[in-house]
Amino acid sequence: MLVLSRKKDESIMIGDQIEIKILAVEGDQIKLGIVAPKTIKVHRSEVFEAIQAQNREALTTSSSFLEQLKKK
C-alpha cells in the first residue's frame, strides 16, 4: 500500500482525472472531497461489504420457504 501524508486543503491525484482532497480534519474524522468522472463510482467500503454479506445471507435460504409460499 502506498502511504502519503497530506494536510488540510492538500490533495492527491489518482490517474489524471481523479482528485481526492482533504477538506477538513476533525478529531478522528476526515472529510474528503472527491472529483472524478461520472463513470467512476464512489462508495463507502461499508456499503460494498454490507451487500456482499447480504448476498451470502440470501444464499442460506433453505427450500423450506417453498412450503411457506404454498401455505399462504
Binding site: I51, Q54, N55, A58, L59, S63
Partner: protein
C-alpha cells in the same frame, strides 16, 4: 441441457437463455453463468440459479412489486458493460433474503440486478448510498402489481 438447481430439482434449460454476469455477484465473483427460473406461478419470485454450481441459487423478485416508484439511473459504465442499446431490453430484479417467515424476509433494493435480455448480460449494480433504497426492504410491503 439439464442442470441441477438449488430448490427445484433438475431443470431443463435452453442454453440460449444463459446469462453472463462478468463480474459475478458481489462477494461471489467466481460464479458468472446464471439462468432465471420461475419458482411459482402465484408469487413473483424467480430463482437466479448458477449453472456452474447447484447450491448457488438466489431467490429474486421484481423490485417494483415492493416499491412502486423504484427507479435509478444506469451509469455509462453499466450501459457499456451490459451492452445496452435499448431500454426495453432491460430487466431488473432484486435479491430476496428468505427467512423462516415471509414477515422476516427482505429484498435488497440497494444493489439490484440489471439484465440485458437481448445480449444476455447481467450485473449487480450498487445504487448511490445517499438514495433511500435499503439493503433490507421488508418483503411484506407488497404494494405494486406482480407483473
Amino acid at each position: 441441457m439439464k442442470i441441477a438447481t438449488k430448490f427445484l430439482g433438475e431443470v431443463e434449460i435452453d442454453e440460449q437463455d444463459i446469462l453472463t454476469f462478468k463480474q459475478g455477484l458481489l462477494g461471489l465473483e467466481e460464479f458468472k453463468k446464471f439462468i432465471l427460473i420461475p419458482i411459482s406461478e402465484e408469487h413473483p419470485l424467480v430463482l437466479l440459479q448458477s449453472i456452474e454450481q447447484e447450491d448457488i441459487g438466489f431467490v429474486v423478485a421484481y423490485p417494483f412489486a415492493f416499491k412502486k416508484d423504484y427507479s435509478f439511473d444506469l451509469s455509462e459504465e453499466d450501459i457499456e458493460q451490459l451492452q445496452i442499446e435499448n431500454e426495453k431490453d432491460i430487466l431488473t430484479y432484486a435479491v430476496v433474503t428468505m427467512k423462516e417467515t415471509l414477515k422476516d424476509s427482505t429484498i435488497n433494493l440497494l444493489a439490484p440486478l440489471v439484465i440485458n435480455l437481448k445480449e444476455k448480460f447481467g450485473k449487480q449494480i450498487v445504487l448511490h448510498d445517499n438514495k433511500s433504497y435499503p439493503l433490507r426492504h421488508p418483503l411484506e410491503s407488497l404494494e405494486g402489481s406482480a407483473k
